[in-house]
């Protein structure tokens, strides 16, 4: 983790050592670009992995995750709406207001889609159905988003499409003041869900016989997920495959069902994966930005497939 953090600080379009004589430039690059970017990687990776873990346990479905179930798409659509609204009323002076509005919209989008998925999964308990519904929802949301993009002006469209590829490098220190406290708050509150999450691995009936209030647990998981996915999506765009692959890998590597351990592993592994993806991005493209989604998908999905086949599906 630490190694990856420093690697992430080191790699970029400018070689830090070649400019070490120019102290001002060195400081600017390190403190206002590289460090915020590395911290964003950690928050985004940990948050998405944690959301994936929470959702997989709640649905008892190893195929659940914020990206595949369309929760990231929900957040994206609402970000699109917010972006277009903002550019159409053109309030350049209210920049901070704009960002917080986008974040709020993004969280709302994630919340609505998570609620919808939960509602459907209560009626139809099959793992595959929930997944199919998620894919369909993503498609619908994507289409709606396409519609909004079609009607949008050229300028806002470009901003939006670049954002949609996922990026950890556009966050500033000011953004981190928003992201980090929310991230820490959500992570800390997830530790208070350990006991009911462990019990719900049996099934809903056994869990409620063990004294777990199922509806309250559902609401708490949805809140934590929506807030984390919403905030991360608002600032970094929809990041693929971290949410689903990290919890699966974590369960395969660390053979425990206890959420106390799984939450910690997912946080570390998630942060590591996104840091690694960003380092690879930087190495492969030193003069232009490669979207981080490309890398997370390229490393994420084969790992999931390999582990699935190797372990005879025991994660399910």
């Amino acid at each position: 983790m630490l190694l990856l953090f420093f690697a992430d600080l080191f790699f970029g379009s400018v070689n830090l050592f070649s400019i070490k004589d120019n102290q001002a430039l060195f400081d600017t690059i390190l403190y206002s670009i590289r460090i915020p970017k590395a911290i964003t990687c950690i928050c985004a990776g940990s948050a998405l992995a944690l959301c994936g873990l929470l959702m997989q346990s709640l649905f008892r479905n190893p195929l659940a995750g914020p990206y595949v179930l369309g929760i990231s798409s929900g957040a994206s659509l609402f970000v699109a709406i917010a972006t277009m609204l903002l550019t159409s009323i053109n309030v350049s002076g209210l920049f901070l207001f704009g960002k917080s509005m986008i974040t709020l919209f993004s969280v709302a989008g994630a919340f609505i889609i998570t609620l919808l998925i939960l509602f459907i999964s209560k009626r139809n308990k099959s793992n595959v159905t929930v997944l199919l519904v998620g894919i369909m929802l993503s498609q619908i949301l994507g289409a709606l988003q396409g519609l909004i993009e079609f009607m949008a002006s050229g300028n806002s469209l470009k901003t939006f499409i670049i954002w949609g590829m996922g990026s950890v490098s556009s966050t500033t220190l000011d953004d981190l003041i928003v992201i980090v406290p929310i991230f820490i708050l959500a992570v800390v509150s997830s530790f208070f869900l350990i006991k009911p999450l462990n019990a719900i691995l049996l099934n809903d009936n056994y869990a409620s016989n063990l004294g777990v209030n199922i509806s309250s647990l559902r609401l708490k998981v949805i809140l934590v997920t929506a807030i984390l996915v919403g905030v991360i999506t608002a600032f970094c765009g929809p990041i693929a495959f971290v949410g689903i692959s990290v919890p699966i890998a974590s369960r395969l590597f660390f053979k425990t069902s206890n959420h106390l351990h799984q939450i910690v592993f997912c946080l570390l592994l998630g942060a590591g994966v996104v840091l690694l993806a960003d380092v690879i991005c930087q190495i492969m493209s030193s003069h232009f930005m490669l979207p981080i989604n490309t890398i997370t998908t390229i490393i994420g999905s084969p790992i999931v497939l390999y582990l699935l086949f190797k372990s005879k599906l025991h994660i399910a």
Partner: protein, 226 residues
């Protein structure tokens, strides 16, 4: 221990109320092994769900140790009644030990950590069901009979005075069925628990239970003592 008075059971949905069985009057004491029999659809599962607090009675009262079941908090109820159902559990790295340890849920701290006495209780439950050799196996690698025993061990770890089992013999072969009832019988005798079992195996019930409750059609109940 359990007293059921003028109970009317069924389901309430937005549109209508469906009564499944009414006018139920029963009483069970600790140390009894009670068999619940009846045709499919007569209301055995509904009665079990009502007795475990999953659904509310349409009318009448259920008293557990002279206290109305509706006045129990979820936490208190989880220390009083435990259930064993035929629903499959497993996946997510759940081992036999993990599942039995989850029986300690009502007693442990919010972060889910087991202390020494919790672990001792889990060990004891594993030994009582003689499944100690399975402790590190994944739950979905087990046979139906073994899994049933694990769920009973979970109930023991939950340390409730009442254990309710919904058709535990459904998927079991002849030998496992007898084995299961031997275990239940000894729990009643040695630990003075009240065990309530629903099953279609009437011959088996007659051999082991101390009391049988048959739900017949038209809201009539036949109670036999053995």
């Amino acid at each position: 221990m359990i007293e059921v008075k003028d109970l009317n059971i069924g389901y309430v949905s937005k549109k209508k109320t469906v009564s499944v069985f009414s006018n139920i009057n029963l009483s069970f004491n600790s140390g009894e092994l009670v068999g619940l029999i009846g045709d499919n659809g007569v209301g055995k599962s509904t009665l079990i769900k009502t007795l475990t607090g999953f659904i509310k009675p349409l009318a009448g009262t259920i008293l557990i140790d002279k206290k109305d079941i509706l006045s129990f908090s979820a936490h208190d109820l989880s220390k009083t009644i435990s259930i064993v159902s035929t629903e499959k559990v497993g996946g997510f790295n759940l081992t036999v030990f993990d599942v039995v340890a989850l029986g300690r849920t009502p007693y442990i701290s919010v972060f889910g950590k087991l202390n020494a006495s919790d672990i001792e209780c889990v060990e004891k439950s594993l030994q009582t069901l003689s499944i100690n050799h399975l402790r590190d196996k994944l739950i979905d690698e087990l046979s139906d009979g073994q899994r049933q025993k694990v769920m009973i061990a979970k109930s023991l770890a939950q340390e409730t005075s009442i254990i309710i089992l919904d058709e535990p013999t459904a998927f079991l072969d002849y030998k496992s069925k007898h084995n299961l009832f031997e275990v239940l019988k000894s729990l009643c005798k040695e630990q003075n628990k009240l065990v309530l079992v629903s099953s279609h195996d009437i011959d088996l019930m007659e051999k082991y239970v101390t009391k049988s409750v048959a739900l017949l059609s038209e809201n009539s109940i036949e109670i036999k003592k053995y």
